[in-house]
Amino acid sequence: MSLFEEYHPLTGKMFQILKADGTLVSGQKPPISDQEIFALYKKMLFIRLADQRALMLQRQGRFGTYAPIWGQEACQVGSAYALQKGDWVVPAFREIGATLMMGISLKSFYLYWMGNEMGSRAPEGMNVMPVSVPVGTQTLHAVGVAWAAKLRGEKVVALVFFGDGATSKGDFHEAMNFAGVFKTPTVFFCQNNQFAISVPRSLQTASKTIAQKAIAYGCDGIQVDGNDLFAVYLATKEAVEKARSGGGPTLIEGVTYRFGPHTTADDPTKYRTEAEIEPWKPLDPFVRLRFYLGEKGMWDEEIENRLTAEAQKEIDQAVKDAEAVPSPQVEEIFQYVFAEMPHPLKEQLEYLKSTL
């Protein structure tokens, strides 16, 4: 029985390998080596710290509005790790994790969120679409990308991120339906972080799980513990392999929790209490990995401090590098609207320059 059969959404089962206390679910084993686990832990830590820095910079007025990943690191690191070179990531707007996993530099990531156009370009070869602010719209792009690859006979997979809120949008529906009909190699990764700004998951849809929405499209769906790096990785890996070998799309619901505010512009105390957050704290994806690695002698406070110090140094440098990039010249905002600037735009640019 395949993973997706075993965890068919209507069975009510959530796929988990590593429990919150760092022990393995009976019968399950880690899908990657301890070295890999350690490397991914290190990456997750870097991401969490880089995320925290962004929040801090925003409070200091050095950053724009920012949507933190805090709590969702395992979802993004575990899933992106299942991709191969040439695969695509289509992010929403909370994807520092997936973005850095794809090799985009932290400097570039920061630049964009500082509001500097110079951070908008992914380097050649890194197939990461730009941030998608209009919720859910990007799911269609991931279907298009994957469909194109399929039509060209290229064994490329597209992994798209979106939230629980996004599943309410018509775009999500049309994307899933197209993916189902054309069996596009798309992996739909829903980070169900329990909130769409203030609106809790329970008010977003009456369906018991997000995963069961796959049934409407004749696709596989699976609910995984999104705070379990191993389960996220393995479910995504199976979905990616299935996609690559022509088996079509999969909807993965990663059950997780947004510990931070929706964005730096949000005040979550308006709509949730500390008491509501409390039960989620022990489920933090870092906690269980520390237990697990600790058991193997691969983690302790000292290691954590060393990793943290290294990360902070790298982050310091990224901030410095990003802040050293000047604000773009006025040409920059006209130059990339079309391949060749049409006459009206040239006139407008000339005019604007004459007024500066």
Binding site: G64, K169, S198, V199, Y271
Partner: protein, 325 residues
């Protein structure tokens, strides 16, 4: 009388109208407990309950499509679209149903619906949070489009919009949500739709603006005093239907005009205003009307946004240009 900012003035209008008319229902993303991301609906759910102030799933077509059905049934829904950039999925329902139902049923069914949405740039927001799609909506038959420029105006215009028997798109210039405080009376007053406001009389040149740009125009007018240019400032208030008479009368008087808007230049509302002046006051024109607008490009990221937005300097330059033509 309390001095309120625009957020508070709109909140007050909603509160009073909801008290007056129990058919009014507010719906949208985060309008309930959260009180809206700008706090415009703050406290309303606590006061009126979850059946009248409704947090919806995240689906803009769903919000306006169901609000349409509610309005046809006989309620008076006020739908919030969280940012203007997310109104695009609603255009199908707005164009194909909301603006047509009265006509399509020979008056049997009507749609007294208000769609509120913060709009415009200038708050260093993320992408898709700074657009100005008013001209697109003004091109759609059967709907009205309203944009207030001060707290007092906002309350009065919103009351008229809510009481209007037809659908109204109500764009709130988010840049001045909290930037202006002025006296806003409690209780009953309304400002008629379809009538522009003469903000400041002047004899040399007419500057036409709306929303956040009225303040920019007034700033420019202030600067231009030094050049002895006497600027008349008109706040359009209602984008559709346009008050062409007020515009034409002013241009007939001054002979010169500058139109200011944040939206992209091409096919922006400025074009329609020029066309109306062409039709109604061409012979009075001493100079081509100038447009001070956004550009035909996506609104840039925060660090470059200032290039995009019209400002007093650009307005003053345009005024000087039409004066020296």
């Amino acid at each position: 009388m309390a001095k309120l900012n625009m957020v508070e003035a709109i909140n007050l209008a909603l509160r009073e109208e909801m008290e007056r008319d129990d058919r009014i229902v507010v719906l949208g993303e985060d309008v309930g407990k959260e009180g809206g991301v700008f706090r415009v609906t703050d406290g309303l759910q606590a006061k009126f309950g979850k059946d009248r102030v409704i947090d919806t799933p995240l689906a803009e077509t769903g919000i306006v499509g169901t609000a349409f059905g509610m309005a046809v049934y006989g309620l008076r829904p006020i739908a919030e679209i969280q940012f203007e950039g997310f109104i695009f999925p609603c255009l199908d329902q707005i164009n194909n149903h909301i603006g047509r139902i009265r006509n399509r049923s020979r008056g049997r069914f009507t749609c007294p619906l208000v769609i509120r949405s913060p709009y415009g740039g200038g708050i260093h927001a993320p992408e898709h949070h700074s657009d100005s799609p008013e001209a697109i909506l003004a091109h759609i038959p059967g709907i009205k489009v309203v944009i207030p420029s001060t707290p007092y105006e906002a309350k009065g215009l919103l009351i008229s919009s809510i009481r209007d028997p037809d659908p109204v798109i109500f764009f709130e210039p988010k840049r001045i949500y909290r930037a202006i405080r002025e006296e806003v009376p409690e209780g009953e007053y309304s400002i008629p739709l379809g009538k522009a406001r003469l903000v400041q009389e002047g004899k040399d040149v007419t500057v036409i603006a709306w929303g956040a740009m009225v303040r920019e125009a007034l700033n420019a007018a202030e600067q231009l005093k030094a050049d002895k240019i006497d600027v008349e400032v008109i706040d359009l208030r209602t984008i559709s239907p346009i008050d062409s008479e007020t515009i034409a009368a002013s241009i007939r008087k001054t002979g010169r005009g500058v139109i200011v808007h944040e939206a992209a230049k091409t096919c922006g509302l400025g074009a329609e205003i020029i066309a109306l002046i062409n039709e109604k006051a061409l012979l009075s024109l001493q100079a081509p009307i100038e447009r001070v607008t956004g550009f035909d490009i996506p609104v840039p990221l925060p660090k470059t946004e200032h290039y995009y937005l019209p400002n007093p300097k650009r307005i003053a330059l345009a005024v000087k240009k039409v004066m020296s033509f």
